[in-house]
Amino acid sequence: MTDTTARVSVTKEPARDTPVPAPAPRRARVWRRLTPWIFLIAPLALLITFTYAPIVNMIAYSFTDWDGVSPELHYTGLENYTELFTRSELFEVFFVSGYYLVASAIQIVAALYFATVLSFNVRFRNFFKGVLFFPYLINGVAIGFVFLYFFQDGGTLDSVLALFGYHSDHAWLGTPFSANSSLAAVSIWRYLGLNFVLFLGAIQSIPGELYEASELDGANRWHQFRHIIAPGIKPVLTLTVILSVSGSLSAFEIPYIMTGGATGTETFVIQTVKLAFQFNKTGLASAAALVLLLIILLVTWLQRRLVPDDKVDLV
């Protein structure tokens, strides 16, 4: 190839972000074409190794009876999946997510309320903001211990109730309903702050004149919330809903630390971790994990379909 052809193809190249100065010799051109890839080698390598390769492997494992260690594995077709959907105890863990879903709904409403209240003039505003947000920053294990003590017999909760003259001998983590509700309440305590801060940020990005104008028109706080705040924070609200649903389905830390999945508090992820790392059922665990992944992707996709939101795009 001669130098001329190289030049011709340079001029033919579509317009770039940066104008191409002088026609470059062939070597420089190849080099320039390689440049973005040099920047992307490490990120892409990590992305493929730790995200996509596992997904592909997981799909492959899910059709086998592999135990995760032995070199031997047998292709078993859809056996893992039929086991998953027919053995009811393997599927029941999904009902536990229901508690966390209800908790998420409460959490979103409460976060919206506090974000609205604290975006207007309130005394000690920064103090309240800090208090509400801080739990989100606390280590999950520490939170688990704090609340184990909170729900203990004669622990924090019982002592507080006794102050009001109510003496309970209720084992808060003793029955499935009460234990799951308690754990879901802890997850509200922990994650409320994140939703709150996201909402607060969104509300504060709404121009202040809108409130002033609406006040002149005689709007009260509820009207302002309904017609200015709610539409203004819709993108964040949608994001929060996605995060809440996928968070509820993949609840792990708090129940694992506090009850280890006992008394009917086993969540899907706890079960999968146990299947894979305690009972060495890598094949079955992979099938389970894949089912969860598909459900979460489906929820996200549905949600995007129902509430189209162009702001979520990356580029």
Binding site: L44, P54, V122, L137, Y149, S159, V160, I257
Partner: protein, 281 residues
């Protein structure tokens, strides 16, 4: 009309403050009680000291000593710091490079690359661990500090996104004038883009730092050996030996929470900004 309006407003204000105070109590009470418990002696605890009673000696730091020594908290802090430094440095480097490449170049398969990163954000890490485990194991990183470092660096889509926002706000004319002066893409990245990304770097350091410091799942799965505890897993191990010794467990929990509190009080404003920027992708 006006008087009714003002009473209604006063009522609303009372309601608002009541709710805020109630929320404050709900947040602070469990933490406060654990702090009180951490100052109590073994005897007080077995003597049936109620959760809300004050410790006999408010300066009894004995439990902290026990937690620190027997719980091996010092080495746990060391491991956590080691992981933090590498994971954060890696995340900053990888995130900024990815953002630079995506924003400043047009290249073949760019759309595909962006889609790959975007799709990865939708995959919750916990679901793929079963298979990720085999890969980490295959690299011989299992039960070393490098396993969590590699996984945290992996692809933090949030930090890539934060960097992307900032790279976009840096005028392309800066790149161009540098290029006219003979700088190549790497020089431009190193001398112009990276230094201008300081606010984004601060955000990523804060958000990533908190995530890594608090993470339990990854160190729990990938570093089971006793000698490799990070603060989460070391604290988790309190559950066995100290089973009923709530005063020691409480001291351990406070030891872990305290640094977070200090950092939070010092950097409040940046932390809020970081999270709003980090999560509202």
């Amino acid at each position: 009309m006006t008087s009714r309006g003002t009473t209604r407003r006063a009522l609303a204000r009372t309601g608002v403050y009541t709710s805020l105070i109630l929320a404050t109590i709900i947040v602070l009470l469990p933490l406060g009680v654990v702090f009180l418990t951490s100052l109590k002696t073994d005897k007080e605890m077995t003597g049936g000291s109620g959760a809300l009673t004050f410790p006999d000696d408010p300066l009894n730091f004995h439990n902290y000593v026990t937690a620190f020594q027997d719980g091996r908290m010092l080495s746990a802090f060391g491991h956590t710091a080691f992981i933090l430094v590498f994971a954060i440095a890696g995340t900053v480097l990888i995130g900024s490079m990815t953002a630079y490449a995506i924003d400043r170049f047009t290249f073949r398969f760019k759309k595909l690359v962006v889609a790959l990163f975007l799709l990865a954000a939708l995959v919750p890490g916990v679901t793929t661990q079963v298979a990720t485990f085999q890969i980490v194991n295959g690299f011989g990183m299992f039960d070393t500090l490098w396993a969590p470092i590699a996984l945290y660096m992996g692809t933090d889509i949030v930090s890539i996104y934060i960097f992307l926002q900032f790279v976009r706000s840096i005028p392309v004319s800066l790149d161009e004038s540098a290029r006219l002066d003979g700088a190549n893409a790497f020089t431009i990245y190193r001398k112009i883009i990276f230094p201008l990304l300081k606010p984004a770097i601060a955000t990523v350091v804060i958000v990533k730092g908190i995530t890594v410091y608090n993470d339990f799942y990854i160190p729990f799965l990938y570093m089971p050996s006793q000698d490799l505890g990070v603060i989460s897993t070391s604290l988790f191990r309190f559950k066995g030996p100290y089973g009923a010794h709530w005063e020691t467990i409480s001291a351990g929990a406070i030891v872990v929470i305290l640094p977070t509190l200090i950092v939070f009080l010092a950097l409040q404003r940046y932390i809020y900004n970081g999270f709003t920027r980090g999560a509202t992708r």
